[in-house]
Subunit: 383 residues, 4 copies
C-alpha cells in the first residue's frame, strides 16, 4: 500500500486531477489522499471540495489559506500561510508522492511543502508558456519537482531543458479526459444551470463568457471585462461565469455587476461542476474570454473560441482558437467569424482522453519504487 | 532617488552582499534598504545584523522567522512565515528591486515575496550546481528572478538555459571582493579570535574546520562531523567554527561538543566577522569541511582545501581543492597532501575582486530605468 | 512627542475610535499612529481604511489578515495571522500605548500584540455583557489591558472586579459623540445612499435592518435573517445593510440575496460612512436587527429599536429598545409597537457626546508619564 | 467514547498534566489526545514529547511554533503561529474538551484555538498571583475557559470573581501527585543524572539551582543569574538546570556558561524527567532559584527553598519557602538559614497527591455530558 497525496488548490485544477484521482482510487494498492486548500474550499469559487466529496472521494486534509482582498499583498500572505499549512498536513499524511497541478502561487506553495520535506513532487502541466508572470511560477515549480507530466511535446522539451530530468512523461492533459466523456453525457438544461440575471434557454443558441484576471494586469481587470461584455453584445444569450480567485477578481466581478445593473442581459452562474461546464461548452456557439478550457478541452471538443488578452498568450493552440486583444471592435469581429465558422474538427494536441489512467499508473509505480528523490528507476516516454 | 532592497538571510550571504551594499550606499541616487531576516538576526549564528550595523549600515526591516528545531517540518514553517513577513516588509519599503543571494529556502521565500508583488528580483549565484536539493531551490529562485548575476561562465550558461533572459550579468562572485581585501589586512590574532576550548596560538600553524549540515543528509550530520574530527587529528591546532542553521545543525553541534568533551583538543569559535574569517583562512595551513568559502574565496586566496562530502559536489573548483567522501582515512590522506602542497596560485574562476562595484552599477541603472519587470533596456556581458 | 497607536479592526470600531483619533490628532505633542487591519481594509465590509484617509488621517500600517470562508477555523487562523502581523507593526512603530476597542477576536489579537511586547494597552468598552462568547473575549482583553475605558457605570464596576485596576476611566462611549453630531448634519438623501435593489425614497418613512451573525449561532444565521426579513414585511421601505464579517456572515448574505430574488422589496446598501449611518438612523421609523448602534447611539438619538436575538442580550439598554427572539410573529408585534411609539427622549446611559475628548486627554497624559506598565500616576474617575 | 485533548506546551506543564493523562488513559470510555507543542518538542528544553511517548502515551498532534531568538517580538510571533497551528490540530481531532495548564503565552494560544472553535476549554492553575505579567495572561486564559481547576482556595475565589462560573473545581495541584510518588521512588544516582561540568556525587549533600527568566525583566536575566551563582558559592555541590524557554533565557544560559568557564564549580544538567527532578529535590539540601516546584511540589515534600526575585512573588506559599531579592548577600543569608533548618513538615496547601484522579473524573463526566459550552450539569466543590 502506498500513499499518494493530490493537492487541489482551485476549481480549475480539479478538472485536471479528477480522472487521475479516479484511477488512483480504483487501484487496490494505493491510498489516495486528497488535500483541498485555498479557493477549493470556498463557496465563492464554487467550493470544489464539496464536489469532490459528492463524487465519492474523501478529503484527507483541508488547508484554509485564502485571504480576503485578493491583491498583491494578500497573494504573498496566503502563499506563506499555505506553505505552513500544507507543511503540517503533508508531514502528518506522510505520502510517498505529492501531486500538484499547473502554475498558480498556491501550487508553488504545495511544491515547497513537499520538496522541502523530501517528499517526491509530481507536477502536471509544466513547460507551457503563456507570456505572463505565471510562466515564472510554473518554471519555479518545475525546478522543485521530481516527476513531470507536461501535456504537449513542446512543453515536454521545455521541461527537459529546465531540469535535464529522466522523469518526464508526456501523456497529454488529463482535463481532456473529461472533455471526451462530456461528449456522451446528457445536455445541460436551463434548470440544472441555475444562476441569476436574465432568463436563459439552453436549447436556443448561447455563448459562454469566462474571463479571469491576469495577475500583473490586475488594475485593468475591470476595464478588460467591460470590453468583453460590450464586444459580445451581438450574442443572443450570454452565460457569464464568475471569475476565479486572483488579484483583480474584484474588478471583474464589479464590471459584471455594473454591466448587469445597466443592461440586465447576462445570465450569471457561480457554481457548475467541471464536467457540466465542459458539456455546457460543447453545446455553445462560441466561448469568449481567457479560460484555459478554451485552449485545452475545447481543442478536443472543437468549440469555436475567442481568446482575449494575454492570459493564454504563449500557449500552443489548435485551429479552433482565434486570439484578440482587449478591444471591443476586434472582439466583435472575432465573435462574428467564430459564430459563422461553427464547430472545428477534433484535435489531440492536448491529449486523447486517456491521460488520467496513464499518469496514475506512473505515480503508483514511482510510489512503490522508492520514496527518496532521485532514485526512481522507472522511465516513461523518452523525451 | 531609487530604492534598492537587499535581503540578508544568513551570515554567509552577507559575505557576498557586503561589497555590493557598500557600493550602493556610496551612490548618492540610491536609497539602500537592507532587510535582515532569519538566522541573520540570531546570536547563535553570529548575528550578522549587528555586524551590518557596526559597519555603518542601517536596517530598513527585521523579519523574524527562524523556528527552533531545525528539522524538515520547521524548514517548511519558517519558509511560510518568512514569505509572509517579507511580503509585509517589501510592500512597506516599496523598492524598485529586491536583491537575493544563493540557494537557501529563505532565499526562495524572499524571491516569492518580491516577484509576487511585481517587484524586480535580482539573484546572485544562480546557475551553480552542487548535486544536492539546493540545486532545485536555486533554479526555482532563478525561475522567479528578473536579473541574474551568476558567478562563473558555466553558471551563466545554465541561467540562460533556464530563463532565456537577456538580463544575465557575469561579474564573478562578490565574496571574492572580500578575499582580495583580506590579503592586505592585519592578521587575525588569538585574542581577536576569542572562542572556547583548547588554547590557540595563531602564530603557529593551524587548520580551520567548518562543516555545515547537508539538508537531505540531516540524519548523518552527527556521524559525518565525527569523521571529520577524527580524520583531522593529525592537525596540530584546530579552529572549529559552529555550523550554520539548517536541518542537521544540532547533530553537528552535538558531535563537536561530545568530541570536545572526550578529547578537548578543539578551539571552537562562534562569531567571526566574515572579513576576519577570510583573513583567518588566508593564514591557515588547510581548510577542512564543506564551506563554500573553500570553493570560492579560497580559489582567489590559494588556500589548500579538503572539501568533504556532497555539499559542494557539483561546484566548479580551482586547483586548490581536493575532494574526499566522509571517510576518516581518505580525509587523513587529503589533509596530509594539502598540508604538504602549501598555497596555490591565485585563480579568478570566481571573480577578480571587483564584482560588488559592477553589480551595484547595474542594479542602480535597472532601478532607474523602470520598475516593471521585463522592460529593462540595459544589457550586460552577453552570454 | 509621544506615539499613540490606535488599532481599527472593523468598520464599527471606527465609529467608536473616530472622535478619539480626531482629538489626538489635534494635540501637538501626540503622534497618532492608526493601524488598519482585518475587515477594516476590505471593500466587502465598507473599507473603512479609505474612509479614515478621506477624513484626513494617514495610516501608519496596514495588517491584512482576513481569511475567506468566515467560519470557526478561519476565525482562529486569522487571529493567529493578526497576532503575528500586528506584532511586527507594533514593534516597528514603537508606540507608548496601543488603543483597542470592544470584543472581537481581532481585538484580542491586538491586545496580545501590544501587551506581550510590554506596550501599554488601552481598552474601550470593557466590562459589558451580551451573554454570548463575546463576553469571554471581552473579559480576556480586559485582563490583558493596562488602561480601561468602560462606557457605563455597571461596566466600570465589572472591569474593577476583573482587574482591581486603578486605571479605569468612565467617560461614556465615544460612539455617542458621533450620534450627537449627526443630529445637526444634513439628512441622508436617496442619491447619497446609493445601493441596489428596490428603489428608495428617504423622504418617505423607512426602516433600517442591520443584522450581524452571532458567533456561536453561525449555522442558524441564515434562518435568523429570514425571520427578520419576513417579520418586517409590514415596513413600507426597508434599507438593509450587509452584515459585518464573522462566522455566519455568508448565511445572512445568502438569506438577503434569496429573499430579494423572491420579493425584490429590499433596498440593500454596502458602504455608508459611520456618521451617515447614524444620520440615516436618526431619520428612520425603526431600527431592526442586532446592531450595537441600536443599543448605544440610538439611546442618545432616541430611535425606536427592535433588538432581535442574543447578540446584544446582556447589554444595558435605555427605554428605546424592545427585545424579541428570532420569531416572525414577535418581530412583527414589536415593529408595530415601536412604529407607533415614535422617537424616545434622549438618554445618556452610554455617554453625553464628549467621550472622545476626555479619553484622548487621558491617553496623552499616560503616554507622557511612562511607557512601563503599572507605573501610571494619573487617576481618573474613581470607581 | 469521548475525546479529550490535552495540550502540553512545555516541560513544566507535563509535571502537572501527567497524572491527569494517566487517569484519562486508564478510562475505557475516553480517547486521550495529547497535543505536544512549542518547547515541548525541543531538545534544548528537554524534549518532553519524547518523555511522554516513553511513558506509553501517543501524540495525537505535534505543533511546531517556537521561534529562535526568544525575545519580545518572537514571543508574539510564536503565539500567532501557535494559535494557527493548534486551530488546525484541534479542528482535526474534534475533542469534546481541551485541557490547558497555567499561564504562559502558548497557553493563551491554546485557549484561543479551543474556545474560538466552541470547544470547551478546561484550565488548570487559574486564579493564582505572581505579580508579573503572567497574572494578566493567566486571567486572560481564565476568561476564555469553561471549566476551572484552580489549586488553592484563594485561587478558586479569584477565579469565581473573574468568571462567576459554576464550574470551578478545587482538587489541588496535580503536580503534587508526582511529588507524593517521588517519595517512595529510588534515589537519583550520579550516573542517572548525567550532565556536564564539575563532577557530582549525589550521595553527598548538594543544592539544586533552577532559575527561569522573568518575562518583563528579560534584560536583567543575565545579571540576576550571576547574583544567584555568586550568592550560592557556599553550597558544596551545585546542580544547575538550564532555564526554560522565554525572553531572557539566553541571558541566563550565558551567565551559567561564563560563570562555569571562570569557576568550573557547577554541575549542569539539561534533561531530567519531571519525576526524577522531584526525587532530586527530595534529596537535596536546598532548592535555589525561582522554579514553581519550589512553591508547589516542595510544599508537600518539605524541601527548604530559597525563592529569588519576582517570578513567584504573589504565590501562596507554605513555611518551607524563604523569599529574597536578587541580592548576593541576601541570597547567602537565606541559603545559610535554610541549610540549617533542614526539611519542613509536609503541607497540603497545593494538594494531597490525588488531584489527577479527581480532575480526570470531572473531565470525563463533562465530556460525556455535552459538547456545548455552558450546559455542564456537574458541580464540583462549591466555591
Amino acid at each position: 500500500m502506498v500513499r499518494i497525496a493530490v493537492v487541489v488548490t482551485a476549481r480549475p485544477s480539479w478538472a485536471k486531477l479528477f480522472t487521475i484521482c479516479e484511477a488512483l482510487q480504483a487501484m487496490p494498492d494505493v491510498d489516495l489522499q486528497i488535500i483541498a486548500c485555498a479557493s477549493a474550499l470556498l463557496e465563492r469559487y464554487g467550493n470544489v471540495s464539496k464536489v469532490i466529496q459528492a463524487q465519492g472521494f474523501t478529503l484527507a486534509a483541508e488547508c484554509w489559506s485564502t485571504y480576503e482582498g485578493a491583491n498583491l499583498v494578500t497573494s504573498v500572505k496566503e502563499t506563506g500561510a499555505l506553505v505552513s499549512e500544507l507543511g503540517t498536513a503533508v508531514i502528518r499524511l506522510g505520502p510517498a508522492c505529492v501531486v500538484v497541478c499547473a502554475d498558480r502561487h498556491e501550487v508553488l506553495a504545495a511544491a515547497i511543502a513537499g520538496s522541502y520535506q523530501h517528499i517526491r513532487v509530481a507536477h502536471l502541466q509544466g513547460g507551457e508558456r503563456t507570456g505572463s508572470i505565471d510562466d515564472r511560477v510554473r518554471d519555479s515549480i518545475t525546478s522543485l519537482a521530481d516527476l513531470h507530466f507536461p501535456c504537449t511535446e513542446q512543453a515536454a522539451f521545455r521541461v527537459y531543458g529546465l531540469t535535464g530530468s529522466q522523469h518526464i512523461y508526456r501523456f497529454g492533459c488529463s482535463a481532456v479526459d473529461m472533455a471526451k466523456r462530456a461528449i456522451s453525457e446528457p445536455p445541460v438544461t436551463s434548470e440544472e444551470l441555475g444562476g441569476a440575471g436574465a432568463p436563459i434557454d439552453l436549447e436556443r443558441p448561447y455563448s459562454v463568457i469566462l474571463q479571469h484576471p491576469v495577475t500583473n494586469e490586475a488594475e485593468q481587470a475591470y476595464a478588460q471585462m467591460w470590453s468583453t461584455l460590450m464586444g459580445s453584445e451581438m450574442c443572443g444569450q450570454r452565460v457569464v461565469l464568475w471569475p476565479g480567485q486572483d488579484a483583480g477578481a474584484d474588478g471583474i466581478s464589479k464590471a459584471i455587476r455594473e454591466y448587469q445593473a445597466e443592461h440586465g442581459a447576462l445570465h450569471t452562474v457561480r457554481n457548475l461542476p467541471p464536467s457540466r461546464f465542459l458539456k455546457l461548452l460543447s453545446q455553445c456557439e462560441v466561448l469568449i474570454g481567457n479560460s484555459s478550457a478554451g485552449i485545452r478541452e475545447s481543442a478536443y471538443l472543437g468549440v469555436p473560441v475567442v481568446d482575449i488578452g494575454t492570459r493564454q498568450w504563449g500557449r500552443e493552440r489548435a485551429k479552433n482558437v482565434q486570439w484578440v486583444p482587449h478591444d471591443v471592435t476586434r472582439i466583435q469581429q472575432a465573435i462574428q467569424q467564430q459564430s459563422t465558422a461553427g464547430f472545428y474538427p477534433r484535435s489531440t494536441l492536448y491529449g486523447d482522453g486517456t491521460s488520467g489512467q496513464q499518469i496514475a499508473r506512473v505515480l503508483r509505480d514511482v510510489a512503490h519504487g522508492s520514496t527518496r528523490p532521485g532514485e526512481v528507476e522507472i522511465h516513461g516516454h523518452p523525451v
